[in-house]
Amino acid sequence: MSRAATEILRRRGRLLLWVGCLAVACVLPLLFKSGFLVSLLCQMGIMVVFALSYNMLLGQTGLLSFGHAVYYGLGAFVAMHALNLVGKGGGPLATALLPLAGGVAGLLGGVVLGYVTTKKAGTTFAMISLGIGELVAACALMFPGFFGGEGGVSGNRVVGKEKLLGLTWGPQIEMYGLIVAWAFVAVVAMYALTQTPLGRMANAVRDNPERAEFVGYDTQRVRYLMLILSGFFAGVAGGLTALNYEIVTAETLNAHTSGVVLLMTFVGGIGFFYGPIIGAILITVMQIVIGGLTHAWLLYFGLFFLFMVLAAPGGIASVIAMQRALWQAGLLGRMLPHYLATVIPVLVLLAGLVGLVELAYALLAGEGATAGDEATRVLGMQVHLRSAMPWAAALAVSAAGAAGLYWIGGRMKRAWHETLSTLNGGRA
């Protein structure tokens, strides 16, 4: 097959993937008619845009920011104020365009703040972005007129009497449609940006700033432009949040939100365009589903993140890419039994650790901790927290899992290295 033909096939495949994703996003809420799922999907759509905008900095330009929520929050607040202004005389069309107002706010925020932050790259940028983030978060509490103080600013997304194509954005499912539309446009736009000269230069500035400068590009300018654009998309995500929840609090622009988007992007994988999408979807699901089940959710999340940093610094996307490479070389079949065998001790170990954490939480932080030998429900089981039995059981399960993992995991590691050398040997 000629090169041009392969290229056409690849493009067609990519187009198919885009359309397929859009179709799945549209069909999912219709298949399962549950309100919980729709709100989960709404949150996911917003976070996908936010995480991708963050990866424009971290993945594409190599700028590790600890204050990205500033642009997201600014977008949310401006969109909310715009909504309240529109409420007097506007209609659904104006509401649908509000994320654009958020985007412009994020963009202007990027123009002002980015001028200071992007003077430097690397560690200095990371620290400055943190400082700016704290600055804006502190300001948010100082100006209750705009930021609404502790209670935040709220509004109503249903404005006016008329409808737009029969839509008022009132029901959550209509809001979901709006989010999907905006998210799709934003994702396509961000993907297109990676193909532009600016996107390519951002990669060059990330990889070798000296050489980029030598060729004649102003690295500071490239960083500045990327930050402004990234601020725009973060602002769009913020505007969508404002519409979705109809309330914006100072929490949207504080360090915690900045941290969450960083974790999402990193866990998904910063080296691939689709990485942050995976991260945003996965973390949102974990946040809402596991967060609803246990108080210890943040602890699990922190452990999971540390594990990812140490074991798979390329994120989930890089793991997927690796398996794809194996599959294309016809080697995946060799690894599959090992993967399946490893799952068992991992599950056992997880069960044991979760048991320990939940017991500790019930004993130390739970409401039943006051009484001496009170029976409490942990993981659906009735246990006596002060007796040795449940602790010993959880410990034993963890130990068994760890031992199993040591044994089976070692075998998997060996098989992995063998397969890897076959893969690389085949190429050479």
């Binding site: 590790l64 200071v116 003077k119 990371a126 943190l130 360090a255 210890a296 993140f305 130390l364």
Partner: protein
């Protein structure tokens, strides 16, 4: 009086920022979890003082924190190091997250009752009818003593010389037969122990709660940026400066309008900005200072290198 309080707070900040600076200039790691070790120090000291009293805690808690730091370096950071600086930074970031959660888990979400020991509770002297507590004097004593010890260790002892050499030329030091990774572990452990000590004496002067790491952490970063990355002297000046700014600004209740009136500019009345007092501005002043420094002198007060 504000001056003394400011210096006390500044010295505490320097205990944190000196460890951070040492770790940064040696390993190139910006330790995001540094303030978490400060928090751990305070909590360990609280726990130990609940069992045995304050004085053993003063000694044991920093050592414990240092040991935890050394373990983290040995088993976590060294692994993350292979994946580059971003992975290291993210590792410490995740660690800060985790430490806060563990503190929630073990000591609960509200502040613990970590108190100043009785023998240090009282007034040292009075100046202009304000009392200067003994404990503040004790804090100054400990921090100054610790700083002198650190200075002596770095410049007057053999291990200090090796550390200084490893700061600039790790390969050469390695070639001379020193175990550089172990020196890194020691420095990391030492830096975190300093943070732990700051936690022990700062935790009861201020408040010991799970949010204390986040509250102090960003200020310490401001100190390091303002002072210049990797410069101990710069960190010292910046610590004292920011300590004083924060203490003074909390005590001043004049508004921005008054400040402008002093220089002869009348601001339009009634706007929200004009009505803000310096006290209300206090939380953002360090950040404003940082932004100003970055605009006018990007390498910091005493920084030598552009990064």
């Amino acid at each position: 009086m504000s001056m003394l309080n400011g210096i006390t707070y500044g010295l505490l900040l320097f205990m944190l920022s000196s460890g951070l600076t040492l770790i940064f200039s040696m390993m190139g790691i910006l330790n995001f979890a540094h303030a978490s070790f400060y928090m751990l120090g305070a909590y360990f000291a609280y726990q130990i003082s609940a069992w045995t009293g304050f004085w053993p805690g003063l000694l044991v808690a920093p050592l414990l924190v240092g040991a935890v730091g050394a373990l983290v370096e040995r088993h976590g950071l060294r692994r993350a190091h292979r994946f580059g600086h971003v992975a290291e930074l993210l590792f410490t970031f995740g660690l800060a997250f985790l430490v806060e959660e563990v503190v929630h888990l073990v000591w609960g979400k509200v502040a613990v009752d970590y108190r100043i020991p009785l023998e240090l509770d009282g007034t040292l002297f009075s100046l202009f009818e304000t009392d200067f507590p003994i404990y503040k004097g004790f804090m100054m004593l400990v921090s100054v003593g610790m700083l002198l010890a650190l200075y002596a260790l770095l410049t007057r002892t053999r291990i200090g010389l090796i550390i200084q050499a490893a700061l600039t030329k790790p390969e050469m030091v390695e070639a001379l037969g020193h175990n550089v990774p172990r020196i890194f572990m020691l420095v990391f452990g030492g830096g975190t122990a300093l943070a732990g000590l700051a936690g022990v004496i700062g935790g009861n002067a201020f408040v010991t709660e799970p949010g204390m790491a986040a509250a102090v952490g960003s200020i310490v970063f401001v100190v390091v940026v303002v002072g210049g990355l990797g410069s101990l002297a710069g960190a010292f000046i910046a610590s004292i400066l920011i300590g004083c700014i924060q203490t003074f600004s909390v005590a001043l209740s004049i508004s921005i309008t008054d400040v402008f009136a002093l220089v002869g500019i009348a601001l339009p009345q009634g706007s929200q900005v004009a009505r803000l007092t310096i006290t209300q501005l206090a939380p953002i002043l360090p950040y404003l200072l940082m932004v100003a420094i970055l605009v006018f002198r990007p390498r910091g007060l005493m920084g030598s290198r552009e990064s």
